[in-house]
């Protein structure tokens, strides 16, 4: 087995790339993709910690499975919001959906 920190470094790099995408991309769909990358980095960390530290418990796997649920729900609703905003305002840039700003 490779040492635990190998996984942690890769997951951290994945998370930072995702963060960059969320901060920098202008397109809402691309922002959501970056969020998926971040969730995935979290999942890798979770499973790696489970495997290396507490493989005798089921919690790590169960948590990772529930993160899939959250990721799916997030993608479904997030994309629906982007489609709805696009339909009403002809724009996919999150900053421009600012009707609620005073």
């Amino acid at each position: 087995m490779v040492p635990l920190w190998f996984y942690l470094i890769v997951a951290a790099a994945l998370f930072c790339i995702g963060t960059f995408g969320v901060l920098a991309r202008r397109n809402g769909v691309a922002v959501l993709m970056s969020v998926e990358l971040m969730l995935n980095a979290v999942n890798i960390n979770l499973v790696a910690f489970w495997r290396y530290l507490t493989p005798e418990k089921i919690n790590g796997m169960a948590f990772a499975a529930f993160i899939f649920v959250v990721a799916a729900a997030e993608a479904a609703v997030g994309l629906a919001i982007i489609i709805s905003v696009y339909r009403n305002r002809r724009s996919v840039i999150p900053e421009e959906a600012d009707t609620l700003r005073g």
């Binding site: 649920v69 479904a76 994309l79 489609i83």
Partner: protein, 120 residues
């Protein structure tokens, strides 16, 4: 390690699988004639010249089918471990599973009532 042995097979298989279709395509690439011209390489629309963008506006219906599929997919995937362990468990497991599936049906019923599942 026995388990990883099985996955090593899958790994080699996954690398090898695209090679099988790639091989005949490569052979064809060597054998076939290649005389492209402007007319031949046009987008094919039964001889009519292409007008405008390929990115015609699609209806939101496709997205809704994809969305409902995604939700069902995740739920089915969670049901698989439950089904695997089913023989080992008592009657409580059946109740858990039935409630899980009934909650899922709620969403389907909503989609039925709103008529989003009918192809228009």
């Amino acid at each position: 390690m026995e388990i990883l042995n099985q996955w090593a097979f899958i790994g080699v298989f996954a690398v090898a699988a695209p090679i099988f279709p790639a091989l005949p395509i490569l052979i064809a690439w060597i054998l076939r004639p290649s005389k492209p011209n402007v007319l031949k390489s046009q987008t094919y629309e039964c001889g009519v010249e292409t007008v405008g963008d390929t990115w015609v506006q699609f209806r939101v219906q496709y997205y809704i089918y994809g969305l409902i599929f995604l939700i069902f997919d995740v739920e089915m995937v969670l049901l698989f471990p439950w089904a695997m362990a089913y023989n080992r468990l008592d009657a409580f497991a059946s109740i858990v599973g039935v409630i899980f599936i009934l909650l899922l049906l709620d969403g389907l019923l909503y989609a039925w009532n709103k008529g989003v599942l009918e192809w228009k």
